[in-house]
């Protein structure tokens, strides 16, 4: 049995300790906001926060996440109030198909804690999430807006 705290709630899951955290979140706990994109940590669609650090959950065995505070996209808004990144994403209409965006938002939320006023160069270096729809112009604009919020 693996004990996991996800979005502030404790879960006990009966899984093989090697199971990637992504599947535990999606299949066992039932939160499907976090997406599978590649399974090899190349695309970032599976990004969650593990103790506040943006982490690609497809490549983290659930045993490594035990005892940590995990935040998924479902847990980003606090007490009904959207995270400023989510609000900027709405204001700038960032998502097109939406598939990469949970991971993108999670990556950006963690990034802004480390770099509160990023330049475009900072953003390019840190936000490596793949978006096939090409929303990058709006991602940059929304990040700058969220940084000023």
């Amino acid at each position: 049995m693996v004990k996991l705290t996800v979005n502030g709630k404790l879960h006990e899951v009966d899984v093989d300790p090697d199971t990637p955290l992504l599947w535990v979140i999606r299949e066992w706990i039932g939160m499907t906001g976090t997406k599978y994109g590649c399974g090899i940590a190349q695309c970032g669609a599976c990004t969650v926060h593990v103790d506040g650090v943006a982490t690609r959950s497809c490549s983290l065995p659930v045993s490594a996440a035990a005892g940590t505070q995990i935040t998924t996209i479902e847990g980003l808004a606090q007490e009904g109030k959207l995270h400023r990144v989510q609000q900027a994403w709405l204001d700038f209409d960032v998502p097109q198909c939406g598939y990469c965006q949970s991971g993108m938002i999670m990556a950006v939320a963690a990034f802004l804690k480390e770099k509160p006023k990023p330049t475009d160069a900072d953003i390019d270096k840190a936000i490596t999430n793949i978006c096939r729809c090409g929303t990058f112009q709006q991602v940059r604009a929304a990040i700058h807006a969220a940084a000023s919020a």
Partner: protein, 120 residues
Amino acid sequence: MGSGVKSLPRSRSKDCKYCKTIEGNIVQGISRTLWEEVKFDRSAVTSIDWITYPILDITEAPESIDVVLINRPDVAPSGSGEPSIRPIAAAIANAIFDATGVRIRRVPFSPDRVKGALSS
């Protein structure tokens, strides 16, 4: 109105939903022009992940894309977002020609292809 062409004020991307589809198609167009190619050997496809099939990422997305929508109410609707991808390869090829005098006629314009075309 007399000329039949009326330029809309430059749409701010924040409010312009059309612009976002156009931006996305420009990004994918550049990606297909510069990078995308399914590679294979005698037995299998070898483009199997984002390393072996690279696509445009944020570092190569243009710093800014200005979209100007021109209102043509006399023309039947025919698409605007997705068709934006069509001229991209040609535009980049023309830019390469303008800069170097060389025509590259096969995408992607990989470093090897460009180098080969420049030295031939």
